[in-house]
Subunit: 613 residues, 2 copies
């Protein structure tokens, strides 16, 4: 038995491969499920367009009546299967999504590479063109639908040639790809290059120039003619050297609105990424503070965006670090559609080698972020052509859980992890509980050895795996810890860089006050002397040592637990192999970070453990 025999990723039936609509897919899935279940039950399906993406299930005797909207019918089918498979009764189910746009952003390049991809090469691009196994794309559609993800952005936000041509001569290929996913309720989005008018022969890409507006209107008209259910455009503009409206003295709103108006007639949206900051910063400059950037740029534009523009904002003010506070921009855009962006690809979080289950992290976000403050949710994909699709077999959990989060941000981390385990593996309850605990704690453990107390960016530059505490310290990216022989961290209070002033008053006060600021964010918000006392009476330096020793020891315990689990052999081998790499990584982090701070502070470990000089 391998992973593909698990329910979530089980083999496609021939019938499913031939489906043209979500209704047909729902029928095929349920027929297959009940045949295997072999309990004398039946199902009846009825489409009620008014239900949209929602659905209802009612059981009458041995008959399950499922009604749902055009795609809701398929989500209902998957949820019914999950409930029954996981031991539920499914007497009555009814659900509809919290967010209508639940998007996966693939960072796939047309040459087949995946930016920050840890699961092998692109599933659909190779050799600068679409190149895929259609059956695998059906699998992909099913995978996304089962997680209720309804939009796939097909290409990297950094639009590398020839991906500009997805909207021109490669449009028929894009349409063919869209058709394969349509039966699973998955619509496509395309990352566009703001300077496309220039490469198409215009003299300008100024969003206020009539010829540019005409160009985009025509481009949209052609695109939606080919793919009537195209979801829209995703745009990374004026960010990390990407072109944008600033080159013409225009605001992000002017750039986004021009595109928004072009796609409006077709029901399309423009998702505009707010990941903008000075990426040519001088480390000598202590006034500029990168976490302040997005708010400074976008908050003044609140209310200026047209209604089909969505501002996509990363969860934290930096860039998917292990621990960041919620981006203040997410809390402050009262009159703008916003999307929360999270990253399933474990760029800074272990690269699908180290275990890192994300639901606990997402719960922390929604503990601060009211669900109604955002209108959509997006995740950077962790998928690739890898055997397990996600590098580590357990990393599939994060994709599954993301879909559940986007459907219902109130999901309980333990519940969703347990759900995924039950859908994926068959094992005794005690083992399942062990695996649940292991996954549930995995983020905390990774944080202990890589990013204690909110310190971030001590990671190896470029690769973003393994420790290199000064690696980014004198670089251009605005990512500094400023450790010296006395203290570490940056004062981000009103008296420091002023970052905290971007939060609502009560949160500002909460973070500014050393008494209330959570320990795990202490070094994000404050500069702290090594001998300063923390809440529990330990000094900062001792806490740094303790956390790193503890993180590594916990990882070693995880390795033992993993060894004991009755996983399918293929999964077990891969997970054990990666755990050995994680242990090596954890030890390296422990020793490097401890030594780094020992060399600065000169402080001995109170428990006399080994810190290398």
């Amino acid at each position: 038995m391998n992973n593909y025999d698990g329910l979530w990723l089980k083999s496609l039936t021939k019938t499913l491969l031939d489906c043209d609509t979500p209704l047909q897919a729902a029928e095929a899935e349920l027929a297959d499920f009940f045949r295997r279940r072999d309990a004398g039950e039946r199902f009846e399906l009825s489409v009620d367009e008014a239900l949209g993406e929602g659905y209802c299930v009612e059981r009458t005797g041995g008959v399950y009546h499922l009604s749902g909207g055009n795609t809701g019918i398929l989500y209902g089918a998957y949820d019914l299967i999950r409930e029954l498979h996981n031991g539920g009764e499914a007497e009555k189910l009814a659900s509809s999504p919290r967010y209508p746009l639940r998007m996966l952003n693939s960072w796939d390049n047309m040459d087949g590479t995946v930016e920050r991809g840890y699961s092998g090469r692109s599933i659909w691009f190779e050799g600068n063109r679409f190149d895929y196994d259609p059956e695998r794309i059906r699998y992909l559609g099913r995978l996304l639908a089962s997680a209720h993800v309804n939009v796939l952005c097909v290409n990297n936000v950094n639009v590398h040639a020839p991906a500009q041509r997805l909207l021109t001569d490669l449009l028929p290929d894009l349409a063919a790809f869209a058709a394969l996913l349509r039966p699973f309720g998955v619509r496509l989005m395309v990352s566009i290059d703001f300077s496309l008018p220039l490469s198409s022969g215009l003299q300008t890409a100024d969003p206020l120039a009539q010829e540019v507006q005409k160009f985009w209107n025509e481009t949209a008209s052609i695109a939606w003619a080919a793919i009537p259910d195209l979801a829209g455009f995703l745009v990374k503009a004026d960010s990390e050297h990407r072109p944008g409206p600033n080159a013409y003295g225009r605001t992000h709103a002017e750039g986004a609105n021009m595109l928004g108006r072009a796609v409006k007639p077709y029901g399309g949206v423009v998702v505009w990424r707010a990941f903008v900051y000075d990426c040519l910063q001088d480390w000598r400059n202590v006034k500029t503070d990168r976490p302040c950037a997005a708010y400074q740029i976008y908050q003044p534009l609140d209310g200026d965006f047209v209604d089909n523009v969505i501002l996509q904002i990363k969860n934290g003010p930096f860039d998917f670090q292990v621990r960041e506070p919620v981006s203040p921009l997410l809390l402050s855009m009262q009159n703008t559609n916003t999307a929360l962006e999270v990253q399933l690809a474990q760029e800074y979080t272990g690269q699908q080698i180290d275990l890192y289950a994300m639901p606990p992290m997402w719960k922390e976000i929604f503990d601060v972020l009211p669900a109604e403050r955002i209108q959509a949710i997006a995740a950077v994909s962790n998928l690739g052509r890898d055997y397990f699709w996600t590098g580590h077999p357990f990393a599939a959990l994060n994709l599954y859980a993301f879909g559940r989060l986007a459907w219902d941000p109130a999901i309980d981390p333990a519940a969703v992890i347990d759900e995924w385990i039950r859908l994926t593996y068959t094992m005794p309850d005690t083992d399942r509980e062990k695996l649940l605990t292991l996954l549930l704690n995995s983020r905390h453990v990774y944080e202990l050895y890589t990013a204690t107390l909110g310190l971030c960016w001590m990671i190896t530059p470029h690769t973003h795996y393994g420790p290199n505490p000064d690696g980014y310290e004198y670089d251009l990216w605005g990512t500094y810890h400023r450790a010296d022989r006395n203290a570490v961290g940056i004062d981000r209070t009103a008296l420091g860089t002023g970052y905290t002033a971007q939060y609502p008053p009560e949160l500002q006060a909460f973070y500014e006050n050393r008494e209330t600021c959570p320990d795990e964010l202490l070094l994000f918000f404050h500069r702290v002397a090594y001998d300063a006392q923390l809440h529990d009476g330990r000094t900062l330096i001792q806490r740094i040592y303790d956390d790193h020793f503890e993180g590594c020891a916990e990882a070693e315990k995880m390795a033992e637990t993993l060894q004991s689990l009755p996983l399918p052999e293929t999964d077990r081998q891969e997970a054990v192999k990666r755990m050995a790499m994680q242990l090596k990584n954890a030890r390296e982090w422990r020793d490097v970070i401890n030594t780094f701070f020992y060399r600065f502070s000169g402080a001995e470990d109170e428990q006399g453990r080994t810190i290398y000089p």
Copy 2:
């Protein structure tokens, strides 16, 4: 007038392009020179094979009688031209080379890239095959002959596919290339892959296996049949993941001798690189010290190598850092042929952006290394398809001076730099002296801001340009400075890692004694507290600050000098552009290194200059 109008790199005449022998080339060069000189002089040439690479010139009235060996005749022609062009009388000249093997090691890959190349792509490889302009190769031959370089190793010591095939199906292409260089007295060498027998179908590459010996004997036989004057094989084995004899439990001598015997019948040599160390070192381990490695491995093998094997040893025990002591291995191989290896490609020394004239550095080497301790000399090439051949127009000096050094290691740095300037540029004496001073000091200036007091490896990992003081500190490469809040450096005395014990007793004592150890090597040999006093009474930390401020200020003065020089416009523009990059680099080094040590030491600069916190 541009660089190519200078004498050293002037346009080839049609006659020269058609030459088949060094004698013909000598005739063509002299005829062209005297025609331009237009002073009613004549020359007569006679080949005296007994002179080998040497030559004599005697002037009788207006007639220069030049006799020389087969290639000596051409070297004599170039030297006569140089003497006369540079204002000499050339009444009587006689010279012969100190080292018979004066080799340029190109690190060209067959895909057209050049490892650590800063002068564009390969001159002769592209698209995994030979691909060149034959006229350019003649230029190359002339360039090398004018510097008296007599062997060119055609491919990277890291043999990447398909370069293994240079000795098999690509041999005819290699022979055609060799033919183009033959008229200039330049013979080819080939970097080989020790595991070639495996990729050729054998089950082993064990040097003691008969079938392997047979394989190499046949390979040599075929190679020399195609290229009778092939110089030999260059081998990087058991080094940085390259295959070698250790895999079969054999020594380097056993591996090298097997190859030596194979090429012996044809007069070939095997150049075996001694650049071997543990490149998977653990930074926690303070016992293993990379500079000790080559001596530990090779010194016990002294006397074991057959007489046509040459052990090629880098000038210092690390890897072409700005400042290293002479490798103790060079001083200790009494019964082994050795070659000194230097690096013209400015990998760690400014990448042909920052000025770095090498003759002063080489003089320091030969101040310690008796010329007779080595039997050959090799340099990693700085050539490429770039307009100036060497990236920076002034970097051509290093190639020229290397040839002069290999001919006569007693060359005076100022004299050879002056020679090169006169051959390359026409400018008033005062300007020439300014340029001479600028070049003569350039290494010292670069050292001040990048590698004060023998500190090395504080460079950006992988790229090897720009500062990153901790970049290699926790890495696998054995390159540590171990700076902490009190001190910096590694104790390499007998009481420390024991490295100094590899030197002859008087040198050991010289380096071990803090009183006699030269300041510029202080932090190579000793661990020193920041508040320790140096010879001039300054503290170490103050000296670090002072050197970095001074280095940067000197670079700024160099920029002013450069601006004032009447260089050909093409050269001037390039040199000025690169100088702006050098200044940026120098400032970055100054500020990063000063801040790095300030954060550790907490010591203020006595002169109150800006050190960023």
